[in-house]
Amino acid sequence: MPIYNASLTSIDKSETKRYAGLSKVAFDEKLIDHACLEAQLLSQAKGIWQIYDYNHSTHTIEAEVPANIKGKIVQRHLQNATKIIVLAVTIGEDIENAVTDHFKANNYTHSVLLDAAATTAVEMAADMMEKTIRQYIEAQGYQTVMRFSPGYGDWDITFQPEMLRLSSAREIGIALTTSMMLIPRKSVTAVIGLIPNCGGSSSQASHDCKNCNKLDCLARKESSI
């Protein structure tokens, strides 16, 4: 089971601002810096992934125990995939505890900024892992479509136990609550569809907030303005 623990030698400030809902406004850069530095210090990035054959007619991940993907949007997203990567990434619990502790100490703003920086960190760790995966699969003649996670679009969050099984996420310390929440909270599971590279341009779909169920996401508000 391939493991890749990304090295986060910086946390993207502009992404942190975006997740905090601040990408279009002037805000004290020192506060953003402070949150990014703390997120960098406390993040313990871990990642794991596995590759499977994918049957896009039956929407089945051909694991030893196969798994069926339900949901029209996700199925359409994977419509040309012949293989699929199932990945899991986490940055650990320390940062989550720090977010809580800062709020308790009435540092509301820092807590919210740290939470945004933590989201940035886990996405960066996933991006970095995806980069190593892409080099590996491009050599075999495939290209990737955008990461897609349960809970996104019409892909039911109850697929999460299958994601943990297929990616072996437990090996890097990710668990699940009965309500399908990942623990540590700053964790991501996702699939990446692999489509044969036929020499044309990539069919990489871009991110669309409309497909997401997280209605109160600060980043969403911004992109809809």
């Binding site: 493991i3 623990n5 090295s7 703003t109 080099q135 491009e138 003649g141 929440m181 590279n197 109160d216």
Partner: protein
């Protein structure tokens, strides 16, 4: 001479019938004639060097086929099959590929495990008679280091190190060509290059960078473009002629070993061979030897022609009880914090010292280097007097480290220099001999000469040295400063190597040490100090450096100095301007709107002292400000973090009022029991709502997250709550809201119910029987006020 490697083995094997999922190296014993035929074909088409069919024949890769125990057999057979084709005509390179696993901390494999795996395979290839070792298609510098070390331990035969780069010009784990070339040449790589992943066009700039940063020959083996899948078969788009058309450019860029990777065939090799007939190797422009240190992803040069380099000294437990205790417990959080903050404060290099009495230094150094190099991208200096700890640190470090330090004492020369050579580290030369610390500059130069002689004798290079000028205490010896300055001057005249030193010892025992230190620093820079070891948080020293850089010509037009000085004089915040009597209340309001947490308490104190009542301040300033902030938020002009800054400022104001008027009764707008429902572990949104309500005069009973239904109902009744606020973030936990509302009604609670959270909507709130739905914290405050007024 320009040498021609062969082309792809995998592509040829596929054409010969190798099925997906079969082990290519098994053919070395099962069908050796197939392998020999491929070699022969490449030789017939012009290869001078053929590569054994052993790319994946390491223990880890072979274990996927259940062949882990056949490493020696398969590699020996690979060489035999190559020899059968080669005769005396061409050379044989033993091919070594990746294990497919990342080394810790990027992955799960230890450095020693990787080393052993490579050692086993390389031994088999060398014993079977290869002419050179080719480590290829490696994407992580740490794996390359393990393989190169193993190769050097097995054999004196040439070792070629080829990394695979991504289209952004770095390996996927972040190493750029300059950093790779410097790191690998220092470790003794004989030929450095790149292969796979990219075609010749994209590899060209990478080859240029490799050639500019080492004096080794350069090798390149591009893919025939990026592969396509056609009817399940991998097809490469670039034909032989197009590939060959790039050869003159690759040679001009410095390559003298050229071959092909995935998708290249004997035709490609023939075309490359033809192309080189007319070419001669490029005359490479080597820059003068210059001390360079590297991390995984960055190179830092130290030289008299370059700006001063700061070596941060703070990761050192000497005299720091708390840090020492943490290291002893195995807790490296403060160590990591020091690393991050020093880099943030401007350090270009970090010194790492784990000198805590009574701990396993080797383990501590290995862990510290591993954790710090995963966190920051500046090169590190390994600061220890223990050879075992030094080696553990060098092994763990994915770059070219600095060893701090090597003196002229026999055990240091005997133990440290070979480690520096083996791991490609630079050394900080400390002029201390068995006779002690030399007092005068000429004596120091003589001792350093001894160290350099020893180092050069074992094969180290002129760009491996950083010379310490040694700083003694001026209170004990009035010559201390003069001797150090003269040493700096003599180092530059005699050796030309860059210099370093720790500065603060100069002022030991004197009053106002910062004054002495910063003046000494300025003098030292003028005498040629290149890389001070210092505390990067020390602003006096940073300012001295800024001024010196401008004075010594390292800061063109004194730009940095000017910008920094302008910043220092710039007014900070409008709120710190003097407040006139007239606008005091307005200023408090503005301070809340601007979220000026630090400024607010003195203003409130002043307002109270001037006779304004707490109600006046609360109503006219604080509440009014928050109302404005709320309106700004609602109209999309302000954003949540700004609202929270205002809330924090408002809170500070309340605290001040309560402190000065402890008997003052604040209006209680109502009791709110608030909770994130059972099964849901998100609470930041709920906390924000709670904080904003509290600021607005509500009494909050926060039950936390993942709260049982019964607990919520009980609290609502017990506290006679006016409002119950329920939060759920997920579709899976949302139904809990319905259950809680039902239970509250059944239990006879009169509390109004407000709901909110990521997936909730007005419709959902209505069907669940909630009294209102709050989309965000500001809305929640307004709704709460309405609910209690009803």
């Amino acid at each position: 001479m320009i040498y021609v490697f062969d082309g792809a083995m995998g592509t040829m094997l596929q054409n010969a019938g190798l099925k997906p999922g079969e082990c290519p190296e098994l053919l070395n014993v099962e069908k050796p004639e197939v392998i020999t035929n491929i070699h022969e074909e490449y030789i017939a088409h012009g290869s001078n060097i053929i590569e054994t069919n052993s790319f994946g024949a390491n223990r880890i890769k072979l274990s996927h086929y259940g062949l882990a125990e056949r490493v020696k057999e398969l590699n020996t057979a690979a060489v035999k099959a190559a020899k059968a084709a080669a005769g005396d005509k061409v050379k044989i390179a033993g091919s070594i590929g990746s294990t497919g696993k990342f080394i810790k901390p990027l992955g799960e494999l230890t450095f020693d495990e990787a080393y052993e795996v490579f050692y086993e395979q390389i031994s088999a290839l060398v014993n079977a008679g290869v002419d050179m070792i080719l480590i290829e298609t490696i994407i992580d510098i740490q794996e390359m280091r393990a393989a190169l070390l193993a190769a050097k331990a097995v054999t004196d035969k040439p070792v070629i190190c080829q990394l695979s780069f991504n289209s952004d010009g770095r390996t996927v784990t972040g190493t750029d060509p300059q950093t790779a070339a410097i790191t690998l040449e220092a470790m003794g790589a004989d030929i450095i290059g790149a292969n796979c992943s990219l075609g010749p066009a994209q590899l060209l700039p990478i080859i240029e960078l490799l050639a500019a940063n080492c004096s080794c020959p350069i090798s390149i083996q591009p893919n025939a473009g990026m592969p396509h899948l056609v009817e399940g078969k991998t097809v490469f788009p670039m034909d032989a002629e197009e590939m060959a058309s790039w050869v003159p450019k690759l040679v001009e860029a410095g390559a003298t070993y050229i071959g092909g990777c995935c998708g290249t065939t004997p035709k490609h090799i023939a075309a490359i061979k033809k192309a080189i007939q007319l070419l001669t190797p490029a005359v490479r422009q080597h820059r003068k030897p210059m001390l360079a240190l590297t991390s995984r992803s960055k190179t830092v040069f130290i030289d008299k022609t370059l700006p001063t380099v700061l070596l941060g000294e703070r990761i050192n437990p000497t005299g720091r009880k708390k840090l020492a205790a943490e290291i002893k417990e195995g807790n490296f959080l403060s160590v990591k914090k020091e690393a991050l903050e020093q880099v943030h404060a401007g350090a270009h290099l970090l010194d790492v010292n784990m000198g805590v009495a009574g701990i396993d230094q080797t383990k501590a150094m290995s862990k510290a280097i591993t954790e710090i190099s995963q966190l920051v991208d500046v090169p590190l200096a390994i600061d220890t007097s223990d050879a075992k700890a030094l080696e553990a640190g060098l092994k763990a470090y994915p770059g070219r480290a600095l060893i701090n330090s090597v003196s002229a004492e026999p055990e240091r020369l005997d133990e440290f220099l070979p480690l520096a050579k083996k791991y490609g580290a630079a050394i900080l030369c400390l002029p201390i001999s068995p006779a002690g610390v030399p007092k005068t500059a000429p004596e120091r130069v003589a001792v350093v000469q001894t160290i350099i002689d020893h180092a050069l004798a074992i094969g180290m290079k002129p760009n491996d040295f950083l010379l310490d000028a040694l700083v003694m205490t001026v209170a004990a010896d009035e010559e201390a400063c003069i001797q150090t300055l003269n040493t700096l001057k003599l180092y530059r005249e005699k050796f030309g190597y860059p210099s370093t030193m720790g500065l603060s010892n100069i002022s030991f025992g004197l009053p106002n040490r910062p004054l002495i230190n910063s003046n000494f620093f300025t003098m030292s820079l003028a005498y040629g100090l290149d890389a001070p070891i210092m505390n990067p948080y020390d602003t006096a020293m940073q300012e001295a450096l800024l001024a010196s850089s401008a004075l010594l010509g390292f800061d063109k037009n004194a730009r940095h100095y000017s910008l920094s000085a302008a910043n220092a004089n710039a007014p900070t915040k409008a709120a710190t301007a003097p407040i006139s009597e007239m606008d005091l209340l307005a200023s408090i309001k503005t301070a809340v709107i601007n979220g000026e947490k630090e400024a607010i308490a003195p203003m409130v104190e002043k307002a109270l002292a001037e006779g304004h009542s707490s109600t006046e301040i609360t109503d006219q300033c604080l509440t009014a400000a928050m109302n404005e902030v709320g309106i700004g938020f609602g109209s999309g002009k302000l954003f949540l973090p700004q609202v929270l800054l205002s809330a924090e400022a408002m809170r500070e104001a309340f605290i001040k009022i309560k402190e000065l008027l402890p008997l003052q009764n604040f209006q209680n707008k109502g009791i709110v029991v608030i909770a994130t429902v059972k099964g849901d572990i998100h609470d930041l949104g709920k906390n924000i709502v709670g904080a904003l309500l509290e600021n607005n005069g509500f009494h909050i009973i926060d039950l936390g997250k993942d709260v049982e239904l019964d607990t919520i109902v009980k609290a609502a009744l017990e506290h006679d709550a006016d409002i119950v606020g329920l939060c759920a973030l997920m579709t899976t936990t949302m139904p809990q809201i319905d259950f809680v509302i039902d239970a509250l009604k059944k239990a006879g609670s009169k509390a109004k119910v407000m709901v909110g959270g990521a997936v909730l909507t007005q419709e959902y709130a209505d069907q669940a029987g909630a009294d209102c739905y709050a989309r965000d914290g500001v809305v929640a405050v307004n709704l709460a006020k309405e609910l209690v007024e009803k």
